[in-house]
Symmetry: C2
Subunit: 333 residues, 2 copies
């Protein structure tokens, strides 16, 4: 294992300390328990939004804390859910009395721990709503999940719900927007290589030199099938087909197309993927009116990509376009 | 070789087409010859800024085309300089009569081809100045270079010179600012793994499982030494020492600290590096007042990092803070 780390057990602590040193203009970091909170939290009258989950998927979630997106992020150990303690502390830190939305990727550990934290917060008279993100069309009931997994679509849920909270929507309305985004986004990924969890020291799975895994999870969980490497365009077709089967789009529909690198993928490859995905959608008369290309929800150094398609309407588009000021996503302010 | 590509010879064409599809709000792409130009170019009365070089270092340079930074980028084949033709075409496309600055990384091919393009532009009555970037303290007179190589510091030269051009500085002044930034920035990198150039199909060099290369170039050119893997903090010390030896800093100095991923490095590792680099500088009384952490000047899927330190003053800080609106860097507008 070759990594730029010190003691494997300090990876998250040290990374979070570096994040704090780099982004002290946007966030404040609590070290015990560990969470990252917007510098101006709690924002008076605003619904707070908290997300979190295992580390190793950066910039998710800490990179999305700031104006117009998350109020707090709770990073667990690498690929392991944070416990209820820091989730509760983050929830308290962002509550201004308007209530708090938990955005939770659908993994058993995350769901349980956020639920416990929400119960404890309720006992402290903080109103909490929870929206579970489960955008991955690849598999149901996988290694870590009952139902579908939450993957790269989470970024779009966080961006759009964050904008709704920022404009002053109440807790029910912000939760409704988050639920709507989740219901209209679908994702499918592929891995070319595995990743190495620092405290494990070994690749999370193995793939032959000419093999790829279609439908990979963001922790290297098994996908749909292993196939021989194909040209990028053929792989993109394999990723888009189940997305469009699950969420049929009509000519004239407008979408956000997110091409997400898994962490170790060269940027030229992401744009090659984007090119063909946009062309396939265009052929169906579907217009890509918004897009993102880059590393947003990663799996450490895994090489691979996921494609997310979010069906847009005027409301979602306006919220997506609203200003955002975070470490990993910023525009318009 | 496992890559998300189609025919290796179409990598740059297809990536640029994807870039155009994703960022049509910011850029226009010429496909024959290939260059990427700001959508509103030429901007009346403004000095044009053109950069370029081999592909495979994305987001450099195309990701930095837009308001407040580059007017055009000229991507060559992977790790290979663009020819004078597209450089000349890009230079003409951005000239509004106020002249054009070429920002050129110090590699023999780039320097020659930009020089030829500048001569041809001069024959067309376009005034061109050239600033060579050579921020890499690792080696002199390497495989592709006479003198030092141009590496990640290029991003800071482009950002700050771009801001000077945007505020209306004339050609001499913009060139002087770019020269100043180059003179005050130093960079040193390390590789944990090699990268694979698509048309070669094989790793550009080999490193043993426990070996790293200190002072690596962005094309995998040899650095200063190969050593056994060490903890991140020790590696950071090895990168910072020659930077600070070459550009001594005094207590009270203010710097921009850029921790640049080589393409395949997990983001947690970049922040672990940032944490220690900032701490070492703080110990010397040097204040990190601006920073960037992420993939800016990459070597395809190489795992590794470079550290750049730019000595700031009020003028450079103000220009760095000025609004920028590009695919890869945006704030404040």
């Amino acid at each position: 294992m070759k990594k730029l780390i010190n003691d494997p057990k300090n990876v998250v602590d040290e990374a979070v300390a570096g994040f704090e040193a780099a982004h002290g203009d946007i966030v404040v970091v609590s070290h015990d328990p560990i969470y990252i909170v917007r510098k101006d939290a709690p924002v008076a009258g605003k619904v707070g939004i908290v997300s979190g989950g295992g580390s190793g998927h950066e910039p998710l979630h800490g990179g999305f804390v700031g104006y117009g997106m998350l109020d707090a992020a709770v990073p667990g150990p690498v690929f392991t859910s944070p416990t209820p303690d820091p989730i509760l502390a983050a929830t308290k830190a962002v509550d201004s009395g308007a209530g708090v939305l938990h955005i939770v990727k659908n993994y058993t550990g995350d769901v349980l721990n956020f639920e416990t934290a929400a119960d404890l917060a309720a006992a402290d008279d903080i109103e909490v709503r929870t929206v579970i993100v489960d955008d991955d069309v690849a598999v149901k009931d996988s290694l870590y999940t009952a139902g579908r997994r939450g993957v790269a679509g989470t970024v779009l849920v966080e961006k759009i719900a964050g904008a709704a909270a920022e404009r002053g929507d109440d807790l029910d309305a912000v939760a409704a927007i988050a639920t709507k985004v989740n219901s209209q986004v679908r994702t499918m990924g592929v891995a070319l290589t595995p990743c190495v969890v620092p405290h494990a020291g070994e690749p999370s799975f193995t793939l032959a030199d000419d093999e790829i895994e279609i439908g990979i999870g963001i922790h290297g969980e098994p996908g749909r099938e292993r196939i021989k490497l194909e040209p990028a365009d053929a792989i993109v077709d394999r990723l888009l087909a189940p997305i469009l089967e699950d969420m049929p789009l009509a000519s004239g529909d407008k979408v956000h197309l997110l091409v997400n690198g898994m962490g170790g993928t060269p940027q030229v490859e992401l744009y090659i993927v984007f090119r063909h995905a946009a062309a396939v959608l265009a052929e169906k008369g579907v217009e890509v009116t918004r897009s993102l290309v880059g590393n947003f929800v990663t799996s450490l150094e895994m090489q691979g990509v996921s494609i997310s398609v979010l069906k847009l309407d005027d409301e979602l588009t306006a919220l997506y376009d609203a200003p955002v000021q975070t470490a990993a996503l910023r525009w318009g302010r």
